[in-house]
Symmetry: C2
Subunit: 290 residues, 2 copies
């Protein structure tokens, strides 16, 4: 009997799979996002698993459990302890291999305001598993991204969270909008724009967005400056509105670096936990390997 | 000698031309936005003018004066009186017809914050020409739109202004974003969503955006509700940040209606001036017809 198994995070834009034996990663694979046009989830997963014929079971988090995903899984309401979450996984089979799909979390702690996550909870619980300091007391764990999450974790339980779609906003405004405009060269680089955006963060965000364009037209700023400005303004505004003390950042190092700058500018301490490490630790917890 | 002349507003998405004799509009025409791919400004204008061979002169405002437009015109810095603005027009010729292109306005009244407009100043000066009550005292004139403008007009002079790219943000987020999502039917219409968005306006806007998606996933809301929610949240946030008293709205009646609801919700009086009437009055001023 093979001891090999697969852990994975299937998001809207990317599938990431890890093959493990015991506690060690022996191989990895990537695939298409689960909501990308033309993706048939069971077929896409079967295709990836074909390269690993000895795998006994698969554990997936993320949009794999969304409606229209591999199999729909619940949202566990906050406050959500790790066992509440683990017990709500659902099971299916893909080409004879047992697949467990983890639930997401939901939150209504702000009266009347619904919120959801799928996938980030795995990194949050993983970070708690990795770092004993997070198991007791009140912590703010932040996962920057397309739909960034600010989770309040108390004694290892996700008490509440709030989603900031800052990454999606930046992609839209920094892409095809009129705010960053054409490719004509101009003065200033991304970092200079970012610093200026941070300065204006905390003001009325929508009005402040327009400096990205006006500075190009009046002050000869280039597209890089303008994109940096939007990034600084949006990340800074998120941090100004959400941060209330020290923060643990989980995610891509470059993005965490930008959030770190914003947190420092607003006087909040921060440290980072590697996103892949947190994912793997959470998925091991999910499977019951850890 | 013909007394016929043309007044027009050439924006990024649309050209609007009026043929007049004396003070009366005798015909109108539309054409493509000046920055739309494939638009060669002089050729596009010549094509439209061909239908009116007796026209003696043309006066244009808007993006006609932008770099890459018909001919580049200045930005007149605020505070800008009507004569400051009229005197900065530039002249060119299209197929033998004299064309005057009006300047835009720029503002730096908030230290270090650049802002620009092209076209809206014509409606502002036009509104002042139409309405004697606006010629003295301190007024807030608001032109909702893709790049909405909040102008402070003191004794008929544009003292300062601020641009809110709320319309562009709504088009991006309400279009291809994940926030409003798919077309699956659900509970609630645009107006109900708008009312809920207004309720949440004034909170941290970026985080509040995500209710558009979470309410679809957790509460079965439909796309219309979700788009209404974004509209109410964005317009409400703009009004909450910018309004400091009574407002004169100029523009499209449907859009002005939404801004009117938001102003009422935040306790500010408002009245409307018709956008076409303001444009024409401003263009007549620009030409020296009024």
């Amino acid at each position: 009997v093979s001891a090999a198994y697969v852990l994975g995070d299937w998001g809207s834009t990317r599938l990431r799979l890890f093959r493990l034996v015991g506690g060690d990663v022996t191989d990895r694979a990537e695939g298409p996002g689960i909501t990308m046009p033309g993706t048939v989830p069971a077929r896409a997963l079967a295709g990836r698993l074909a390269a690993w014929p000895d795998v006994a079971d698969v554990t997936l988090c993320g949009m794999a459990g969304a409606r229209g995903g591999l199999i729909e899984a619940d949202y566990v309401p906050c406050p959500a302890a790790v066992d509440d979450w683990r017990n709500r996984r659902v099971r299916t089979e893909v080409q004879g291999v047992a697949v467990a799909v983890m639930a997401g979390l939901s939150d209504r702690s702000a009266i009347g305001v619904p919120d959801v996550m799928r996938g980030e909870e795995t990194q949050v619980f993983g970070a708690v598993a990795l770092d004993p300091a997070l198991r007791a007391g009140d912590h703010r764990i932040v996962l920057p991204g397309t739909h960034g999450k600010w989770a309040r974790v108390v004694d290892g339980t996700v008490q509440s969270f709030r989603t900031c779609p800052t990454g999606e906003l930046f992609a839209l405004l920094g892409g095809a909008s009129t705010l960053t405009g054409d490719d004509k060269p101009g003065r200033g680089d991304f970092d200079q724009g970012f610093a200026r955006g941070l300065e204006r963060a905390g003001e009325a965000t929508v009005a402040a967005l327009f400096e990205a364009r006006a500075a190009r037209l009046l002050d000869g700023r280039g597209r890089d400056w303008s994109r940096g400005y939007l990034s600084g303004l949006l990340i800074g505004s998120e941090v100004a509105a959400q941060a209330d003390g020290p923060v643990v950042l989980i995610g891509d190092p470059t993005l965490c670096g930008l959030y770190g700058q914003a947190l420092t500018a607003f006087g909040h301490a921060h440290r980072e936990i590697d996103g892949d490490a947190a994912s793997l630790a959470g998925l091991k917890l999910a499977r019951g390997t850890a």
